[in-house]
């Protein structure tokens, strides 16, 4: 059911970016299941509504039914599917772990979900050349387990690494707590093999650390949210697991002090391997539901340094400690001990379950959850989030990888009440207006999908035509994950059915 709140706040004229085929309502030819059977075999196809219903969802607020789910084992099958879908004009939606938070894999126009989880082979771990080759369905944690025996790790790792696949991480340019030092997925991808919407297989990038051989199209594929091509193999670099890891925490009575500390740490030349902010709402939530007895201050900063030489790690940690002190940070403790480190990180780690259990009537939703702002604006951003939440009668926390400029939020709201959705939409619009006003960006880690399309379209207003030109150059029939990014509806609340029961 689509919610109707009256006039939709139009972020910009949809004609500038719209999905032409969709808008003109050109009918899609009927999907021929026997064709799918021919390509994938009966055991790798799902068409029963009970299966399709589950595949219509991810970790976002959205839900829409696909027409079929298919599971390829190899590149040739992916190519055959794309040739067929391109000719029959059927949308194809590539899917990894289904852990995306903005609806990237929700089939807004129906079509075939291409479940990549069975192309899950780690093909090569090449130590002398420091790269590995993997299929897109390889799970992040599994890759890291395989690399561990070589003393190596793959650093972009998002929090969902236990189920997130490399393909999905590439599609969303995923990153996590360590991005401040090691970067995001885009920084780790050396090259890839991609099946284009026409079925053509192309090899992009290289196997070397640097490359200046024409357009770096593999970097374009990273973050393209399954709209430009289907990654069937990726070449990734990895780094050694550090010998030493030291974590510290500092409490701040004023959000602004924490913010100033963040800015100075990043400008000081210190290289944190993690720099996390947790706000007062988050601390209270964790205390309320987990009884952790954390000090209820305005903000806590959790910082970490890692390296091969203890003196070097000491140096980084001391530098960050001093800066926290200078900005009136208190209760500062640091530790190399894994158990102590786990204790320091406990408040941050328990935040998700704490928010879910905060209040029986409130659900923790993923909306406007990963904007990035310049370092000097992190504290102001957190303050803005609190202000907007209060004004709109919802609860919002601010926490995140402030060393990367990434601010996470969760919106706690009564999902049954239509007016709460209206409030959420209003709050999100205001928050994104602020983000753009300070030269921030709509998404740092989770991508755009459906939920963030409105702000994305405003932020990228002068390049939307270019983006659509690129999209149509690669996908002339607009069959690959249509209706996302610049093609997504302007109003995320009514873009698809919601996964929540909302009272009429």
């Amino acid at each position: 059911m689509a919610l109707n709140f009256g006039p939709v706040y139009e972020m910009m004229p949809s004609s500038a970016t719209g999905n032409e085929r969709h808008q003109k309502g050109i009918p899609m030819k009927r999907m021929d299941v026997s064709k799918l059977r021919e390509i994938f075999g009966e055991e790798n196809i799902k068409t029963d509504p009970s299966d399709l219903y589950a595949f219509g969802s991810d970790s976002s607020v959205h839900h829409a039914m696909p027409w079929a789910v298919v599971r390829p084992d190899n590149t040739e099958q992916v190519q055959k599917l794309m040739v067929y879908a391109n000719q029959a004009l059927i949308p194809v939606i590539p899917r990894g772990g289904g852990s995306g938070m903005c609806g990237q894999t929700v089939p807004i126009q129906g079509g075939i979900v291409l479940d990549m989880k069975h192309m899950n082979r780690i093909l090569e771990i090449n130590m002398p050349d420091v790269y590995c080759r993997v299929e897109p369905g390889v799970v992040d944690d599994d890759l890291n387990l395989a690399l561990k025996s070589y003393g190596m790790f793959y650093p972009p790792t998002p929090a969902s690494s236990r189920i997130a696949t490399i393909g999905g991480e590439i599609a969303n340019n995923a990153s996590g707590v360590r991005s401040v030092k090691y970067g995001a997925t885009r920084d780790a991808v050396l090259g890839m093999k991609v099946v284009l919407p026409t079925g053509e297989l192309v090899t992009l990038g290289a196997h070397t650390r640097v490359e200046a051989t024409g357009y770096q199209l593999h970097k374009l594929m990273v973050g393209s949210e399954g709209t430009l091509g289907i990654v069937v193999e990726a070449t990734l670099n990895f780094v050694p697991i550090p010998e030493y890891r030291c974590m510290g925490i500092a409490n701040f009575d004023l959000l602004a002090d924490a913010g100033a500390a963040i800015g100075e740490i990043m400008a000081s030349g210190a290289i944190p391997s993690m720099l996390e902010l947790v706000d007062s709402v988050a601390i209270k939530a964790v205390n309320k539901t987990m009884n952790l007895g954390l000090k209820e201050v305005a903000a806590s900063l959790i910082f970490e340094a890692d390296g091969m030489v203890k003196e070097a790690v000491d140096y980084e940690i001391n530098k960050m400690k001093e800066i926290c002190k200078k900005h009136r940070g208190s209760d500062i403790t640091t530790s190399y001990d894994p158990k102590e480190r786990a204790k320091i990180f406990m408040g941050r780690k328990k935040l998700f379950p704490a928010l879910s259990k905060y209040d029986d009537c409130l659900s923790s939703t993923s909306l406007a959850d990963d904007m990035a702002v310049p370092y000097s604006k992190m504290a102001e951003m957190a303050g803005k989030i609190h202000e907007v939440a209060e004004k709109n009668n919802i609860i919002m926390t601010a926490y995140g990888h402030c060393g990367s400029g990434c601010m996470h939020t969760k919106i706690l709201m009564d999902t049954k009440q239509p007016d709460q959705w209206a409030s959420a939409r209003k709050a999100i619009t205001e928050i994104y207006e602020y983000v753009r006003s300070v030269n921030g960006t709509t998404s740092a880690e989770h991508g755009i999908g459906l939920s963030k399309a409105a702000s994305f379209k405003v932020e990228k207003a002068d390049s939307l035509k270019l983006l659509q030109t690129i999209k149509l150059a690669l996908d002339p029939n607009n069959i690959l994950n249509p209706g996302k990014l610049m093609q997504a509806p302007d109003d995320w609340v009514t873009a698809t059915g919601l996964r929540y029961a909302v009272n009429n």
């Binding site: 009970s50 369905g137 879910s356």
Partner: protein
């Protein structure tokens, strides 16, 4: 979206806010034995919650297939341990099953059934840890709501009449086939490890290593639902296929979900050790170790110790 509420889901109704509280992160499906076996997300715990939501809201039509999703569960509760929102998933499934049974859907899914040739010895009724089996007019009956698919009845039934039809790779035949396949295809193979689902085996969960990394593996781990249901054939088959040894992991005695699975397994291993001895095979080649929930490190250490011991013993000649 809630358009027409299926009011018949009286028990499921009380979980409405829980179904919204699930953030659908998907952390539950990594260790789910169903997902591990089929690889389909729609068999994973998250999908079951989505199914429950769909049925409750009326968005998903009630059918044999949608009902069956909720009858497929081994109640290992690994999903609950992994849940980032603290949802007690199996309680939701149980209440959904109550409603479904009232509406005439009984699965079986993973519920154990009893074949007509049952001798009605009542051993299964006595030993069911979940009081799911009873003797009535139609012989032995299983209560699909109470049954937690642990398979103790399957293991104990002398007539082999108690069965779990949908085993998702955890049944006797599945385990024997899989271990035989490993032993047949790996000249390096020495041991088979049967891990309780709670032993958090220290291995890749959902990906495959390159052939170059696996061709010389000396052991393989197979997951079963409870060490207490490992049958004689399952434990002895690897020896017929030239394994050097078999290692069983079980939960600590006071921590078995199926009451005394660990105890039963130990008894079984002791019995088989004496058979090995009578065949002049070193009984140390069959061992059982207790692995507390989640202790991957200990499990790996126990496997390494066992392999070292087997290397000292050499192949069975």
């Amino acid at each position: 979206m809630e358009t027409k509420k299926a009011t018949r889901f009286n028990h499921l109704q009380k979980w409405e806010s829980t179904l919204s509280a699930c953030i659908r992160c998907g952390y539950c499906f990594e260790h789910c034995p169903l997902f591990k076996f089929t690889g389909w997300e729609s068999d994973a715990p998250r999908a079951k919650l989505i199914t429950a939501f769909g049925l409750l809201s009326g968005e998903l039509e009630l059918s044999e297939t949608s009902a069956d999703k909720l009858f497929n569960c081994f109640y290992c509760r690994r999903c609950e341990a992994a849940c980032s929102s603290g949802v007690t998933l199996t309680d939701v499934f149980t209440d959904a099953k109550k409603d479904l049974v009232e509406m005439g859907y009984t699965g079986p899914g993973t519920t154990s059934i009893t074949e007509a040739y049952c001798a009605q010895c009542l051993l299964c009724v006595q030993s069911c840890p979940h009081e799911a089996r009873s003797h009535g007019e139609n012989g032995i009956e299983t209560d699909p709501v109470k049954c937690q698919s642990c398979g103790i009845c399957v293991e104990i039934c002398p007539a082999e009449a108690a069965k779990i039809v949908h085993t998702f790779g955890t049944g006797k035949a599945d385990l024997i086939d899989a271990s035989n396949r490993f032993l047949d295809t790996h000249t390096s193979a020495k041991a088979i490890v049967f891990a309780c689902n709670w032993s958090y085996y220290p291995d890749l969960q959902a990906s495959r290593l390159p052939e170059s990394e696996t061709h010389d593996r000396d052991y393989e781990i197979y997951v079963n639902m409870c060490a207490g249901r490992l049958e004689t054939e399952t434990l002895m088959a690897p020896f017929i296929n030239h394994a050097w040894g078999v290692l069983v992991s079980c939960c600590p005695e006071d921590d078995c979900q199926h009451k005394d699975g660990g105890k039963r397994a130990k008894k079984q291993v002791t019995r088989l050790q004496s058979i090995l001895k009578s065949l002049d095979i070193d009984p140390e080649r069959l061992q059982i170790v207790e692995i507390p929930n989640g202790d991957k490190t200990l499990f790996q250490a126990e496997i390494d110790t066992f392999i070292d011991r087997l290397n000292a013993l050499g192949p069975i000649t």
